[in-house]
Structures are given as C-alpha cells and as structure tokens.
Symmetry: D2
Subunit: 336 residues, 4 copies
C-alpha cells in the first residue's frame, strides 16, 4: 500500500498516519517529494482495511499494491486447479459442457433433455429447482421435488448434476441431491452463502453477478477457498451496461484475464450473457477461442413452452450444431 499525502498535509498529520501504520504492524518507508510526502507501507496488508486510511486528515489517496485475494491467485498457485465432477474434469485442455433447461418442469422433461445433451457430448446436467425470479408472481420452481427429478435424470443419463442454491438454509439439503452447487449471479456477494458452501467439499460454480468487478469475483471465490473448499469454478455470464439490445454484455475480456490472474477453471454461459438464442452459438465460439475451459448452455426441447428462459434456450438441433462448431474452434486453439 502507498499512502499519498496531500500537498497541504502537516507534519503532525503525517506522523499520525505513520503511527497508525505501525499500530497495524506494518513497516513505513517515507519519501519526501518537492510537493508532497509519500508513505510506502511495507508488508502484507491484506488483513487491514486500506480505505480506512482515507479517513485520516491529510491523506489524498491510498494505492493498494498487493491484490486483496491470495488463495485464488496465480501467484499463490501457478498450476491450473482441476475440479472433478462425475466424468467431467474442469480446468484441463478439454472443453467441458454443462447443459440443461432453465427450470426443471417435470420428470419427463428433465430426463428427455438429459438424454439429448448426453448424446451430444455434455457431461453435466443443469436445471433450476428454486428459481430466482425478479417478480414474485413468476414461476418459482418445483423445489425439492425438482431435485429428485434432476438426480434421477442424471443417474439415468449418466450425467453429473448442478443446480443453484439461493439460501444458507438450503445448502446441505441441496448438496445431498447434486454433484455441484451453483451460486447464481444475484448471490455473488452473498457472503453468508459463500461461507456456507465453503464449509463443504462439493464443487461450486461461482457466477459473476451483473455488476461485479473481476477483482470482486476473485474475492468472492477467496471466501470459499478461505473456508476450506478448493473446488471452485468461475463463470462469466454477462455484465450490466448501458447497452439494451442484449440482456447483458458478455465480458469476454474477463476470460483470458481471469485465466491470467487465477488458477481456477473459467466457464462461460452464452445463454445468460446474451439473452437471445440466436447469439448463443457465436458467443460460445468466442469464449472458447478466448480460452474458456467450458460452457454452460441452456437447452430445452421446446423453448416456446419453457417455464423459464425460453428466449435464450437452444433447441436440441441447435445445441448439436453448437457442439460441432465448438469442437472445431477448440481444435484450432489446441484444445479438445
């Protein structure tokens, strides 16, 4: 951390800051410029609140040097983390495919989709049981019954399973049914929930919320690792910007950047990131070309009758086409 004092800072103000740094058990390195004093703070300052220093009179700016995250960083662990879920291994050269409907609607629906996506190369089956809907009048999901359908469809089709967990009280119950837990975009900074899934060893797919900075996503992952669960997979699914043509703006920059900054696997969800089924395939290809380790795609046998996310779901034949093209692009960038 570097503390930049204002040009009008007094000696007493500088001294008070120095005293605080020392109280925080860090070393001080003072640089007296012509116009202003700069206080270099030496040592690992991740445990303190750097913004706090702005409260001191005479401080103009506080510049962090160490990243706040540690366990998730490439500096801490150079090699890629791999996460095993059923027959899938995330974080290797192979592009893993998670597919399934927005909402689980019936036993037949999820089984049908499971068999379809399995045949086309998916290794994990997704499906919503407790929907996070912006309207209280929207379809809220079939709840625990849906989890039973998901579990049996996964078994029958030979797919691992994933569903979203939205509340701390549900974590254990849901973890009993599925192979992988999803933290949805509205919960990326739900710290109570992050801590709860951090206490398990079940793999966690952590989705970036629509206004979450890359650094904040990594800090959210740090919460889970700090609790003891190393099996975290990051997922970009679009951010909120001024553009209204698409539901979200896919932040493809984030994919190679996250791969540089962290050792965790990085997925992309082209369904949520666009909101329109006819953009899903080109964006899936873009993500793979940019270095994503896998994709999470909404597939529905009959999107027009879907109870959720029909607008952004692919029909089976469109998903088959996506898989074919993804394989070609993956090969072009030396992946499988």
């Amino acid at each position: 951390m570097i503390i930049i004092m204002s040009s009008s800072a007094t000696t007493a103000q500088i001294a008070r800051v120095v005293e605080r740094v020392e109280r925080d058990k860090l070393d001080v390195h003072i640089s007296q410029g012509e116009e202003r004093t700069i206080i270099g703070v030496v040592g690992d300052d991740r445990h303190i609140d750097r913004r706090q220093y702005i409260a001191y009179n005479g401080v103009e700016q506080v510049v962090p040097i160490l990243k706040q995250y540690k366990l998730v960083s490439r500096v801490f662990q150079a090699a890629n983390t791999t996460v095993d879920v059923g027959s899938a291994t995330f974080g290797t050269d192979k592009i893993e495919l998670i597919a399934g409907p927005g909402a689980i609607e019936s036993e037949a629906q999820i089984l049908n989709i499971a068999q379809t996506v399995k045949a086309l190369g998916a290794t994990v089956l997704q499906g919503g049981a407790f929907q996070a809907r912006s309207s209280p009048y929207g379809f809220q999901g079939l709840g625990e019954q849906a989890l039973k359908y998901l579990q049996s469809a996964g078994k029958e089709a030979g797919l691992a399973t994933i569903t979203a967990v939205n509340a701390t009280a549900q974590v254990e119950m849901i973890a009993d049914y599925v192979d992988m837990l999803q933290i949805g975009a509205s919960n990326t900074q739900n710290y109570a929930l992050l801590k709860a899934v951090g206490k398990l060893k079940t793999p966690v797919l952590l989705r970036r919320g629509k206004s979450i900075k890359i650094e904040e996503l990594l800090m959210a992952a740090e919460y889970i690792l700090a609790e003891g669960n190393p099996n975290v997979i990051l997922c970009e699914r679009g951010i909120r910007t001024f553009e209204t043509y698409t539901n979200n703006t896919a932040d493809i920059n984030a994919i190679p950047l996250l791969k540089q900054l962290s050792h965790l696997p990085v997925l992309f969800d082209p369904s949520e990131a666009t909101g329109q089924w006819n953009l899903v395939t080109p964006m899936a290809l873009a993500a793979v070309a940019a270095g994503a380790d896998g994709l999470m795609v909404q597939v529905h046998s009959d999107p027009q009758e879907a109870l959720s996310d029909g607008a952004q779901s692919l029909k089976p034949d469109a998903f088959a086409e996506l898989v074919t093209q993804v394989r070609a692009v993956a090969a072009a960038v030396s992946r499988q």
Copy 2:
C-alpha cells in the same frame, strides 16, 4: 403486453402466438399493418413471463404495458404509506434521520454515538453487527453481541434501532433485537431473504443494490408486500457506473421518480452514495431538496479509528452542521 411480429412472420406463426395468449387466459386484439402484424394482449398479464413470447418464431419484440409491480405502485394506493418505528414516522412531511456507525465496535462506542446523534435530532440508531465485506479477511462484525450493545444503546438514548440482516437463518434472531431490519445492497435481489422478512411485520428498509434498476427495486419491494409485510421503506445509496472518482454515483433522479411511482417512503444514504465524508452534507441537502423522506448517515466519534467505513463517516460536529443545513433546506421545500 403488445407482441410485435416480424415483417416475415407467417400466418401459422401468428396463429401459434394467439393460441398461447389464449392458453394464458388473456384476450387478443390483432392489428394488421402494411408491413407487419401487431398482437395486442388484453388483461392482467402480471402472472405470466412476457419474455417467454420472444421464444416464439416470428416474434420480433414484446412490449409490456402494465408494470410488473402492483402492490407498491401509486396506481394501487394513491396515499403515502407511513411507517412507524419508535418515535419516528417515515413518509410524512418530517425528514427523519437514521444515524450511527458502519460497525458496532463496543458497548461504549455505540452508546456514545447514540447519545450524540439523539441530541442532534436523529430518531433511529444504525449499526452493523454482521458486516458484508468484500474481503474474507476484513472485519466481519461482532455478531449477536453487537446486537445486544445496539439494543441497550437504543434504549438508553431513546432511539429506535436498525441493523442489516444478511441471511434467512438470522432473520428471527435479529428481529428480536431491533426495531427495523435493513436489507443491504448486496441482497436487494436475495429473494429468499425478501420472502423471509415479508413474513414479519417488522419495518424493513430495502436498499437499492448497485446495479439494480428502479423497476427491479420496486419488484423487490413487491416481494415483501406480497408476503404480507406492508412496512417497507426504500433507500437509494448510489449505483455503480463508469465514474471512479466517487465510490458510487448517487442516483438522485431516483428519489422523485420513486415518489411518483410508489407510495412507499424513500430515504437516501449520502455516506454510501459518495464514499467520501466531504461530499456527504451537500448530497444530503440535494436529496432533501429532491423530495427524500429521510436520510441515513454514517456517524462515528473517531472516523480515523473506525473499524468500517471511516472514510465516509461524519464526525459529530460535521453531523450537527448537516442537521442544521438539512433543516433549512427542508423548510425551503415545505418540509420539517
């Protein structure tokens, strides 16, 4: 809802959409233009997923006409809702002041601040017990012990109390200690939590998340009212934009707009909305001039030593100055 078919939509496609509308128990009104067909949907369509219609072939655009929210709207209830909390009544001509530290640090600290802000005109005491921190290494709050300090400080100073609730499992426990529950900005769309506080009658202060649209904030409030709790107060605390000089961009437009769209009281938090103590007072005045029903201000006896939010906290004398100026502006816009 109006469904705009593309210029190349076929008769069969139009028929399939009409069939679905009728299945959704709504009436159809077809308008055949030169270039395209427009399907007017008549009736209350709040219970259906309008975006779903985009999944139909031939549909170009779906335009909602009814707002999705109902219970919170001015159309549903023309008169202002008032919410009583201790000696405070939110939603009247009087500007109510909530004040207190970011985090409760000790029994003495919160009692000291309580007495200070009470003397200066605040009617509700705020303080964090379970901090929502972006870093797992940051101060996480004193937990239930802090609630005890808050409760006794409130009693001693004659102030009602408010603290944030972050997890469904904590709702009842926290409600036993305080007069008012706060849903923080990272939980505006934590639907499980909204439903949980909706089941009580305890007043709820619902803060707008940093990427939450005004319509989504109203939908979040709708969740609480739909569960049976009418005592909801909205709070603008800044949104996330490209501007980096300030922590957040205060969306003052939202204040008069929310007052037009809804009957619920609207507060403003100038501490979070700016992130800098020296902008707090001018922004507090701006909010009152624009029609806010009250303010929520971070006050700390010694911001330099605060364990949280020191950079944006006012010292007691600065808070005293804020109160004086707020009273002058309130009088200028015919408020107390």
Copy 3:
C-alpha cells in the same frame, strides 16, 4: 507517478525503466520491498504519457500522483473564477439561470420565450440552431437564420445568448452572433473543437458527455484554458448508466466534487439530465442544494408542438414555479 514492478521483475528490467524515467527528465527514488521494487518518480510528469510505462517488461502498475490537469485545478488557483456574460456573472453567490427552447423554430417563437424567461429571472437565452440529432432524418435546425433570430430576440428581451457549436468550421461565424458558446455532450472530447474555442475569449459552456469521467471533463476544460481562453463554465447534464427509466442519470455527486477540484463555475441542466419534464424541478432544486452555480433549463411555450426536446421542456408556468422554489432553496444554502 509511482511505478510498481512485478514481483518477478529482473534487475535489468528495473534498470531499463529507470533509464527511461531519466530520459523523460524526471528523478527516480527506488524503494526495495520484500516482494517487489517500487520506483517513485519525482517531478512534474504531466508532459509524459504515464500509461506508456506499462509497455515496459516487468512493470505491473503505474500510479499517477499529480492530476493531469493543472490550469483548471483549485491547487493552481484557489479563488473561484467568475465569468461575465451580459448581465450574468457565473461563479458568484448568485444562481444564474439560462433558459430557452431546445431548437429555435421561428423568430416569433424565440422572441416569445425570451420575453417570458427574462420576466421570470433568466439572464441568458439558449436555443439550438444546428441540432445534433441521432437520426439524419430528424429536424436539423434552421442554421444561420436561427442565429439571427436568437441574436435579435436576445437584444429585444435584454438577455445574453448561447448556442451550441458543433464543428470547427463554424466557430467564428457562430461567435459573431452569440455571447457564449456551448460545447455539447457529444463533443466534450472533440479536441479540434476545444482548441478552436480556446483561441477566442468568448465564454464557453462545456457540457460533460454522457460517458465522460470527471477527470476527463476537467482535461477537456484544460484544453481550452491551455489555448488561452480562461472563460470556461462546466455543466453536468447526466451520464449514461444501466438505468433506463430516465434518459440519463444525473450525477449530482459531480457538482460538489467539481467545485472542490476546480475553480471554474459549475452548472446543471435538469432537462437533459432527466429527459422528463416532471423531474426537472426537483432535480434543479437538488443541484442548487448541492452547490451548483446556476441552471440551464429547457423552456418552451408549447412543448407538445416543439420541434425538439418537447418531452423534457417546461411550460412557462412550470418554469415560474421552478424559479420560485430555486430561490427558496438557494436562500437556505446562503446563495441568492
């Protein structure tokens, strides 16, 4: 400027950066931490491109210390700049009012509005002659003829005049007709235009573009001052965010912030900043409460028939009401 080397930077890489700093005629102050080397650069580095240093191998981050702007800053000039335009003086305790229609439509229209707003307290008359429209099929303005109408309406009503200049080729011609030049929001970073108006002494109202950071706005003003024209007035008119209920998000935070950072007068345009006439008055009051030096308001005798900006224009009686309320709030914050 502080240059933070990565933890893996070699001695040779550090040496090459130091060599470059010295070539840039600045002094170096090296700080060797446990993990990494930090290079403090001492001296006025405004003439160099700080981002350039990121191109050097081993550099992780470059942190500016000096603001890039100088002439516009409070540090350079502590006292408020005042700008005289006709009977108006911007930058004093008096709230100055600029008012008029989005577009000048006819001689009678602009004269009528001029007399109305003059009677209600405005001191400067605005009106568009060359409209900046997003559609080539929209009304493009009456051009030079409109300038003649504006000039004569201003003279007849006793008001100074302002209009927007959009192209370098027009600067001198337009400056012959009006007392003040406006740089519109789509031209805040049109550097050729900024240089052209900088060569005159005519007062310039510089509007913040919808995606312009506060620092960039100040740099745009610096362009004008650096060319020799000190008569610059800044104007906040809303920024582009994810919120779609309003056309723009009024960044009221920017008003007290700009007053702290710069000695230039700061205005607010509540018409553009909201896009809705029924939010204009509360937002005008908010801006004055927050410290704005004046307002720029769209007024039209018959907004329904306006050729531009009807949705956000006030009728004369609504403008009269705005003026009354602005005076009350101004008095409450010790302004006129």
Copy 4:
C-alpha cells in the same frame, strides 16, 4: 409506433394525440382496453420525432416499431456489402487485417512497420497523424507530415492506408493522402463530420464510441449512407463499463448482432478493446470466432518507445503469432 395512454387519460387528450398523428401524415388505429387506450400509428414514421409524443398530456409511453435506421439494415439490403480498399475486400469470407502503430513517429518507423505487417498478411496500414489525446500536454501527432510518411510507406510496402480524421476542415486534405478514413470513437456522433465523409466515396471505417449503443452506431452509419457514401465499415473497439481491470469492455455480443441487423462489414480492434497487449491475441480470436470480418491491430517495432499506445501494441513476433492463430480459428468457422 404505438402510443400507450395512461389509465387516467381523457377523451380530449386522446383526441389531441390523434390529431397530431394525422398532422404527421400517419394513420391511426385505436384499441380501447379495459384500463387504457392504445393508439397504433401506421406508416413509416422515421421522419418524425417519436419522443415528442411524450410531451402530450395523457401519454404514458411511446413504443417504436420500425427501427430508425433504414439504409444500413439487413431488411433494406439482404446481401453483405463489400468494400474494396487496395487489395483488401471487407465483407467477404476472408478475414482482413489492418495493422500499424498508434502514432506515426517518423518515416523510418512507419515504413519499417509497414513492411513487417505486410509480410505477415496485413492488407491495410494504419497510423495516427492527428492524435486525439485526452491531455493537451500529450503527443498530438506529426500532422500532415505524418500523412506523407504514411502514404509513401503504404506505396512502398504495397498496402492500402487508413488514418483518423477528427475535424470537418481536414476531411478533404486527409482523403488526398489515404485510401480509407477512420472516424474515431470520440467522433461517432460528430454529425458534422459524418456528413462530411458521407459526401465522398472514400471508404469510411466508423468506430463505435465508448458509450454508443448499437442502435446509435447504426444511426451514425445511416448518416454517412444517407449523404451518398455506401462504403462504410463498422468497428467495435470496446465500451465503457464499471469494470476497471481493462481499459474498455470488449462488446463481442455486438459482432454477431451487427451482422444480423446490418449488411455492412464489421471489424474488431482488440488493442483498444482491452488496453493490454497480453489480451490482444485471445480477444482477436474471440472476435473472429464470433463472426468479425476483420481485425484492426496496433503493432509497433518497439512498444516501450512508442509515442502512443505502447501498452496495447504488439511486437512483430507477437503479431505473427496472432496471424497464425487467427488463420486457424478462421478456418474452423469456415472463413479464410
């Protein structure tokens, strides 16, 4: 256009709107719902200001149905436009590469880079002569002298040339030196400039500004086509969002979307869209996978010594690697 009247609209208010529609020479189709009246407006309403209707009392919302753009749309012209520039043809199956430095620094520098990028497969040489810098103290470019260097380097290396034009007064002069004109991101809505380049037949590369919506970009292109110049190429170069890790957020969604909405060629600039050289190649691959017709890449022989954009420029060997990988991905999506 559909005009939605508020539920409290009176018969007189509806009549006044209808009268206005008819005055605008459009037909009316009234739909009387239970709660409110909806006025369908039939006919081509691109020539009118739809937002104007909001100024009418009783109007709640105005919904456009026709897109405002026409000439640039796929509906108007189904086949891809191709634009010939020297040996390059934009808009075919071949991925065209524009490459060169941010700024032209000397005759030797631009010639050297020209020969390098030519050898690696580029067909157009870019280089800045009049830099658009946010600081007046930054390097402003060598001006007309740079154009001479660019022209002769292009001739010698056998490359077409492109440079940015920033002011109307320069359009003809610059067009004499280069094969293609670039409208930079700060000028996307500089309508005077758009009209000026629209009067020529020289190909125009129109870059999307950092806060320009996709629809606004298409409207900007419409300005050029409407003036008579059909040779327009669109270029995505990143938008401004809350994310600060990267200079801009590459909006890759925009690439397939623009290809659907318009017949114009679409390029991508991975240098500006990321701001970091180590993200340039993965993002170039992403854009090609998503359907871009070409790339515009900053290349410099010695980025550390570049006078502009060094941080985001590729060295020749990195550019060579980019070209190899781009060819592989292009082949995977059936392009050259």
